[in-house]
Symmetry: C2
Subunit: 212 residues, 2 copies
């Protein structure tokens, strides 16, 4: 693995997890020393983070970790809705129906009654997203969504896992997958809309009073 990749992955994780708080100044020498690489690969990593939008060039000489608050979450979900409803529509027209039928059944069967089950549920969602990406086969949509998902990880840290919400989320996913399997584009899109609405509401509700 290249040094620049290591630096990127490390910084990415630290920003997503909140270890590097929004507003933190990222000095090149300081970070390079800390991560044990030279300034050259570190600059490359910072550049990629800037392209991702996770890091901002506040002034020509100072780069900081990008801010992230409730308004960002709302904006993120607007973009997500635009992209994911389109993905649902296109997958309905193009997808491998049996694959989505199987995924739908997996979502239906999911019982989130243990930590392992929750881990497995996250993995299932990842497989569902991958199936959508594969079915739609549109690099531009996939890449835009990838950026959105990168930012979304930051929202998790502001919220708490809510088991009731997760069970409902599984049911919503089951419906989306089922609609895709049936080739029902309208239902798939609208079920995605509903799912995102509920997910956003749950996230905003779980935010501490002052952060909404």
């Amino acid at each position: 693995m290249r040094a620049s990749d290591r630096a990127y992955v490390t910084l990415l994780d630290e920003i997503q997890s909140g270890a590097l708080a929004p507003g933190t100044v990222l000095g090149e020498v300081e970070q390079a020393t800390r991560l044990g690489v030279s300034r050259t690969p570190l600059r490359e990593a910072i550049g990629r983070l800037v392209a991702d939008g996770l890091v901002t060039q506040q002034s020509p000489r100072v780069t900081v970790v990008t801010d992230f608050d409730a308004d960002d979450i709302r904006a993120l979900f607007e973009a997500r809705r635009a992209l994911e409803t389109m993905m649902a529509r296109l997958a309905s027209a193009r997808g491998d129906r049996s694959a989505f039928r199987a995924l739908s059944e997996e979502f239906t069967r999911a019982h989130l009654d243990s930590d392992e089950a929750i881990e497995a549920y996250y993995a299932l969602i990842a497989r569902f997203d991958a199936a959508l990406d594969a079915a739609v086969d549109n690099a531009y949509l996939t890449s835009a969504l990838r950026t959105i998902r990168t930012h979304l990880v930051r929202a998790r840290r502001l919220t708490s896992d809510n088991r009731g919400r997760m069970q409902a989320s599984a049911d919503e996913h089951a419906l989306i997958a089922s609609a895709v399997a049936d080739g029902d584009a309208e239902l798939a899109a609208h079920a995605t809309h509903v799912h995102l609405h509920n997910a956003l509401t749950a996230i905003l509700t779980s935010l501490p009073e002052g952060n909404r």
Copy 2:
């Protein structure tokens, strides 16, 4: 202006204009020499182009200008539709109505009967896009759309300006702007859909037979 910015802007323009054809291998030393910068800023420029998707790391040791064909145009318009219909909806709810009313009238008045008028029309579209960006005020949507637009420039080179189509496009824009000004989100979204459908059809029609 920094050397890396110069290199980026130059390469960007050459890729968008087709001066650097798809598949062209971009050797660091070769390009750095050609552009009169050292490898360090050139690598930064290449990195940004990779993030944009205009350049691809074909193998660990060779980076090439990303391919671009009719299927890419279709995929691009799918992503564009997802984002722009959402922009239209949100702008309808949030936009400065008088600004869009004025833009709508400008579109209605546009008569594309000279090269200068066409230049002015392109500028008007740019102002319209900027007004949408400002009205929606969503950095994630704007940034995703910015990437899409960057790629879209490449499509222009494959097509020819068609004056009849452009006049129709002006009318379509007038309707979108008018719907936004009226706060009619549904109409704005559907008019955007129609506009993109027509634009895509015109582009694909104008492609040489073998490229469709």
